[in-house]
Amino acid sequence: MENVKEIEFKVAPEEKVKKKPSFLKPWLGLKYLFKKPVTIKIPYEHTQIAEKYRGFHTLNWKTCIGCNMCGQICPARAIEMTWIEGEKRAHPKIDYGRCTFCQFCVDVCPTGALGHVEHYILTTEWKEEELELFDWVPLPEEKVRKFKDYRHPLAKIEHLEDGKVRYILRDGEAVEFRILGYGLKPPAKPRAEEKKESGEEKKTE
């Protein structure tokens, strides 16, 4: 250990680092009794949320090309591709029970379809149907941004017959679609239909 060459650098003089004990000085802290507290009264007061806070996702259904880049980069494997009737490509379904809000999925999205808003409140009243809300196909930005209180935009998810799902927003607006299946490959039945459609299109061209 003696052979190690020491590199010389600036060291603070000892008297600068050392302190002297004092009996009277601690009492100076009493002046804070007459100052305004830094704490705020929630829910009557609010903190300001940063403009680009990483919160809930938004998805532009028109520009999403179903490339599954988001699913590949997700560190928590929270993204599942979902096939929806009427949409040519699969859309990501995000499970907030697993999501770490790293927003790498937003970074990698090649078309910019997946985005995020600063809304972040994940608390529920511990009801089964409320927990279900946090496993959703994100809606377009204007529908999520309508609500200014940073809470999740959905009020209820209704499961109708033959795979139909109805998302009811907190202001009563409803979005209805049918989920055909999950996974990277399109489900078997609609695949045949799609082929027919695409074949017909080619013929007409």
Partner: protein
């Protein structure tokens, strides 16, 4: 009735160890529910009020980070490694990114280097304030602890504005940083915060660091020998408190540190008081460094490398080879050794955390002969980070 020998044999077969009972001592489980230990536990053998033997009992936060990293793409691992040290998540991000930069042969843009240095210094201040809170609470000076928590909040707000999250920033990535500085307003806010905290340090001195209770409590307890500290591989403020001149920022300069002017505090005593005073001086120096960085101003230019591989992150590949990068965190020398076999996932990532050096063997030695009331104080004066020990 089973005999004692049979019990010992049975335990050994199942991979356990039975400790013999002694008449004069009793066993005390200290933590993990004790406030001072934070997800860490000690088994103390006590003789009255004195500790006869201390056994570290870590492992409550084991998540196998290094193994998990081998199954995830290069960029995804950033969201994993910052969980290794929660009070300063930017350090694991930075070392991993610096190692990958070296493997890729990337020259990080000047603006990104400035942002990385600023973020690392801000992380150090935040971490020291968090530690001040813990130390003040253990000493019973709750006033100063609550101030530290409140002032840390100001830095958290700045981090929120810059990175988009309060605690888990996920900000430093290989090739630069994820977002640019939000604008001049943010720089002004940072300058205001630094000046504000510099002003408030006097109050901290008055109430906590120059308080005679602090001196009465800390002087001469948990004394660490210089030779012992070097043998165990202790780094950071704990080593500096034993009289060794060591700081990664000076010995192996990285980022913008060669251009910055700052002093390194070194004390000879090696007791809990020396460790506390060294850390107090570090806060002052970190604020001074931040002031210098703000005076320098962020250089113009891109904030991350422009490379075609960054367009498709899941398929991002790193050429085969290995690299090591380390920085000076608030707890000590934090390093990452990254090995790549040319694939889209790392072959192996090894982290060298500072806490494992002073969190297990050293604490077991320092606690021998200490009073029970001093156990939390010695533990917090070492400033160990339980998730870093367990990993």
């Amino acid at each position: 009735m089973v005999s004692q020998q049979e019990l010992v044999k049975e335990a050994r077969e199942n991979g356990m160890e039975l400790l013999p009972l002694e008449k004069d001592t009793y066993e005390l489980f200290f933590g993990p529910q004790h406030m001072a230990t934070e997800n860490y536990s000690l088994i103390l053998k006590m003789d009255g009020n004195r500790v006869v033997k201390a056994i570290a009992n870590p492992g409550f936060l084991h998540r196998g980070f290094e193994k998990l990293a081998e199954y995830r793409p290069w960029y995804t691992n950033i969201a994993l490694f910052l969980r290794v040290c929660v009070p300063e998540p930017d350090v694991p991000e930075a070392i991993y990114s610096m190692a990958v930069d070296e493997l890729m042969g990337w020259e990080v843009p000047e603006r990104a280097q400035w942002i990385r240095t600023t973020v690392l210094e801000m992380a150090r201040v935040t971490s020291y304030l968090f530690w001040t809170m813990g130390m003040a609470f253990k000493l019973g000076v709750y006033t100063a602890g609550q101030w530290a928590a409140a002032y840390r909040e100001r830095f958290m707000a700045l981090f929120e504005e810059l990175t988009g999250a309060r605690v888990y920033h996920i900000y430093t990535i290989p090739g630069g940083v994820r977002r640019d500085i939000p604008g001049d307003k943010w720089l002004r806010q940072l300058r205001d915060t630094v000046e504000y905290l510099k002003d408030k340090l006097k109050d901290f001195d008055n109430v906590l660091f120059e308080n005679y209770i602090t001196f009465k409590r800390l002087e001469g307890i948990g004394v660490m020998d210089k030779k012992f500290a070097l043998e165990e591989g202790v780094t950071g403020p704990n080593l500096r408190a034993t009289g060794v001149k060591a700081d990664v920022r000076k010995l192996d300069p990285y980022l913008l540190y060669p251009e910055l002017d700052f002093e390194v505090p070194v004390l000879k005593e090696g007791d809990a008081l020396a460790r506390v005073l060294v850390r107090r001086f570090e806060i002052e120096q970190d604020l001074y460094i931040l002031e210098q960085l703000l005076e320098m101003g962020p250089p113009s230019g891109p904030y991350k490398v422009d490379h075609p591989a960054l367009k498709a992150l899941p398929r991002f590949k790193v050429p085969a080879g290995d690299a090591y990068a380390h920085v000076e965190s608030s707890k000590g020398d934090f390093g990452a050794y990254v090995v790549s076999d040319g694939g889209n996932k790392p072959y192996r990532v090894q982290l060298r955390g500072p806490s494992i050096a002073h969190g297990i063997r050293v604490i077991e030695q320092l606690l021998v002969g200490a009073r029970l009331a001093d156990v939390p104080v010695i533990l917090v004066s070492l400033d160990n980070c339980p998730p870093d020990i367990d990993r």
